[in-house]
Structure formats: structure tokens, C-alpha cells
Symmetry: C2
Subunit: 339 residues, 2 copies
Amino acid sequence: MIKIAVDAMGGDYAPGEIIKGAVQAAGMRDDIQIILIGKEDVVREELKKHTFRDGQITVQNASEVIATEEPPVNAIRKKKDSSLVVGMNMVKRGEADAIVSAGSSGAILVGGQVIVGRIKGVERPPLAPLIPTEKGVSLLIDCGANVDARPSHLVQFARMGSIYMEHVVGVKSPRVAIVNIGAEEEKGNALVKETFPLLKECPGINFIGSIEAREIPHGGADVVVCEAFVGNVILKLYEGVGATLLSKVKEGMMSSLRSKIGALLVKPALKETLKSFDASKYGGAPLLGLNGLVVKTHGNSKATEVCNSIIQCVTFKEQGINEKIRESLGREKTEEGKE
Amino acid sequence: MIKIAVDAMGGDYAPGEIIKGAVQAAGMRDDIQIILIGKEDVVREELKKHTFRDGQITVQNASEVIATEEPPVNAIRKKKDSSLVVGMNMVKRGEADAIVSAGSSGAILVGGQVIVGRIKGVERPPLAPLIPTEKGVSLLIDCGANVDARPSHLVQFARMGSIYMEHVVGVKSPRVAIVNIGAEEEKGNALVKETFPLLKECPGINFIGSIEAREIPHGGADVVVCEAFVGNVILKLYEGVGATLLSKVKEGMMSSLRSKIGALLVKPALKETLKSFDASKYGGAPLLGLNGLVVKTHGNSKATEVCNSIIQCVTFKEQGINEKIRESLGREKTEEGKE
């Protein structure tokens, strides 16, 4: 039985869509147990709208909620009875294998490190979402957890990312590349230039060199390594350019009577193809390298995204990703898991 | 009379498309004179295909060509008779007001600084392309010239970018924002955190704060300030996501008979709208802050892009952009223009 804590109060559509997604996930798998964390009366009221197997979904009361705009460190320290902190403590104590939250990114990142704690040997836990490409998906790592990273961090990202892509997504010997401003080894800023030779020498990964941002959507690498600032820019620009272009396509289709008729004919086929380029269906972003699993889903996640994120936790647990990370990275360093 | 040197040998479609674009530009304006630089026999042979006003286009022989893959510093130093070096020397000596090249980016950046030289007071000359947005265009500055920039560089980018957007593009009091991973002032990496307060205090610019990458395609700022690594990632991801999405749209339209018929009806209108999101029509990227004007156009530029880049030089010169930059930045520093 895999136990997954779900932050019922975090996200733009909480608690309704979060709970709906949790119920969906429960319906898909017999071997998971979901603990919904939040204001008990609110959660129970919402649960009444759904049917589910007795005992498969339980409720854990948490009287507080962390808002998106709250300074994360403060929020984690002070709101001991918030849904996020209560859930993370359950993961820490082993009462849950994973926590899924659509709440404040900052609080999730801080809470993951401070409460759940790092695996011994992991220097910095990266946030690693899957992003759609022409060929399927790639893992973008790191994407928001650690700005101003050091070369050794990036090497660990490459190793953890490889493990994740191979065992959760199922890509054999995933191609690892570092984001750069040119394909040649001598290109780049100081961080990339220092990291490049370390990646070349790193055992156990399939390092293919630099990747220019242009090649990311084409699927030029399976594991796209970068420091968090650049990763965040990539993730958000993906969304922004996509949204703008699609609105331009719609605008074009609505601009004349002729094109409007065409649009009616084109629409179903177009919808199907564009769905494959929709980031939300790939679930949330795991914060890798923690003593447990913390998954951040997009703040505007609806039931489908929440459900997918929960199912993703099952694969993560079944494949023993944390054991593999511990094996791969644990031998090198003896740093403690908490700060 | 504005004199514009054109590197006839640089770019994927040189010399044919470059020369065609130059002839087009000459046909549009009586007040420009174009100097085509390259192997004289090759250029003259190509020119025979076109008609133009006598004396408006001249040819300057240059026996060498810098290839894209050559290490830039070496190429600039050793190939004294390359089309790029010859052209830049003409700008330096005042025999040309500007040079347009679709050749090696690295060589253009190095040559601009080493041969043409910086305006007194300018610390680093940024490469500043216009990128399409929902609302029109924004200036992305810096986008490839200076990795590992310092806060003072970014402040100068903001000031030079404002002058360019106001006087070349015609945006009154352009909104300046710094690329960041969150909207709040306390977010960001070390560089952004240090630069933010400097931009807030900077006189003469309309600083509106941070911009997340998601908002760039929506037109959230007119002058988008960032260091070169991030700028390069933004520019190239713009291209990559755009190309991938459009190929998905086409794929969707071709997936059934019904959608194929629809596609025929939709096509003309769609083409028109998407053209407005095509970066190439906005001309090349100027390297700002030099004693003269150096414009880099995309390596795969065809005649239209070359023509637009040339016309852009006219506005730059007419509006006295360099004089304005000199006035704005020249008072502060006494650094020499050449290294």
C-alpha cells in the first residue's frame, strides 16, 4: 500500500479540484491510500460530492493555510498546523510516502529541505518538471529550487535526472545535456564552462554535451541540466510562447468567414495534436533528493493534473527512485540531510 | 547620405540573398549608399542580376571570408582582409555609418568591440534584437554579447535599450523590466538582486520591476533586460517553441480528410496572423554602444531580413542614437572605447 498525502488547501482551485483529482486517482489504483490534509469540515463537505472505496481516502485536519504571497521561510516556520507543514511532517515520520501540493512553490521548496530533509550526499534538491517536446517529454532540472548553483550541484542534477528519466519515465540510457549558448565546449558562462568537463567525466550518465535552447522543444536531450534561474526562464517561456502562439492561431482562424468555416473542420484534429504538447498531463514536478517524495503541481492545476501527479508518486515509489539516488550519490558525501 | 557597409559574404545564403536584400533597400531609399564588401568578382557577378541606380551601390574588395566555426578572436586578428574586418574598419574610419552582417556572431561581437570600439563610458556593448509579442515588439537586451555580466552593465543595457525603443521603434517612455523568476523584489539570483535597486534609482528610465519569462511574449515590457546567457536562452527558445508548435498545428491539420479541407480554408488567414509573430521582419540586432553601428542579422537571413536590417540603420542614424547614448552614459565614466 502506497500512502500519498495531498495538500487539499493549496492551489488556485483548492479544495474542489484537488479533492476531485484525489478521488479520481483513488479510483484508478487499489494499492494507494490517500490522506487529504486541510480544514477537516471543509474537506469532508467537499468529499460528500464523491464516492470512493471505504477507507481508501482519509482526512487529516490542519487548521492553517499557507498563502502564495507569504514569505516561504516564515510560513514554514510559523504555520505549524498548515496543510503543507502537517503533510510534510507525515512524510518525514514515514506516515506517508509522498506529498502532492499545488500550493506556494517557495513554501514547498523550503519545506521539502527543512522538514523532509535531504538524502545524505545530496547537496541541493532540484525541482524537475517534465516538459513536452516533439518526441515526447524531457526532464528540465533544476527549475526553481536553487539559484546561483555550483558545478557540483549540476552534476548531481544530471545523475538524479538520469535515474528519474530511466526508471519513472522509462527512457533507456537517457541523453543528458547542459543548457548552453552554443554547441561548442568552449562556449558558455563560468558555471557551464566549469561544469562541462565534470559532466564529461561523470560515470553512469549518458552525457551528450551542450544543448541550445532552440533544440529543447525538438527533444534534443532527455535530461536538460541547468541552474534554477535559467530553468525557470525556460519553463515559463515555454508556457508564454505557447499561449501567445495559440492565441494567434485562433485569431487567424476567426478573421474571415472562410477561415471560420475552415476552423470548424480543423478543430477536432488540432485539439488532439496540441494535447500532446500540453505540459499538464505529465503530472507535477518532483523535488528530487529528499528523504521522501515531494511533488509540486502547477498552481492552477485541476483534477486531471492532481490525479496524474498522484499516480506519478506510485511509479516513483515502486521503482525505488530514492534508494537508487541514495546508492548513486550517497557514497560520496556525508553531508546531513537537514539544514 | 547615409553610408551602409554590407558584408556580402556572411550568412547561410550569401552572397545571393544578401546582395538581393541590399538592392531592395537601395530601391526603397534615395538617401542611402550601400557598399557591398566581399570578393569583388563574385559580388559583381551577382550584382549583374539586378538593376539599381548608378552609384548607389559600390563594391569594396575583400579577399577573405570568416567562417562560422572559426574561433572569433583569432579570425578577427588574422583575417585582416575578410569582408567583416574590412567593413568594420570602414565604420571605424567613418567611411561607413553602419555595417550589416549575417556572418559569425562571435566574430561580429568581437570585431565590434575590438575594431569599431565602444563609446566612452559604455562598459559592455549589448546585442539587442527586437522580439515579437502579442502587442508588437520588445527589445531583448543583452542577448549574446557578455556572459557573466555585472549589475552596472545591466543598468547601462536598460538605459541604452530605452533610448533605442523610444527613438528607433517609437515607443514613448518604454517600460523597462528585468527578467526574474518571480514578480517580487526579493526574488532572484545574486545578479538580479543587486541590479534591481540600481534600476529603481536609475534616472531617465521607466523601470516597472521584474518580468517573469511567461510575460515576455504577452508584451509585459518594452525593454527586457537580462544578462547574455539568459537572453540567448530566451531568444533561442522563442524560435524553438514557435517552430515546434507550428509543426504540431500543421500535423493536426493534415491528420484527417476533414481537417485537410479545413486547412485549405484556414491557411490564408492563418498565414497573415502568424506573420506578425515572425521575428525576421523586425530586422537585425544592433550591437549598442559602439562608435558606429554594427547590426547582426540572423545567419539564415534572406533578402527581406537583410533589406529590413539596412533600413533599420537609417532610422538609427537619423535619430542620432549614438549621440543620445553618448549624452546619457558618457558623462559618468572615462573608460577608453577600445581594448
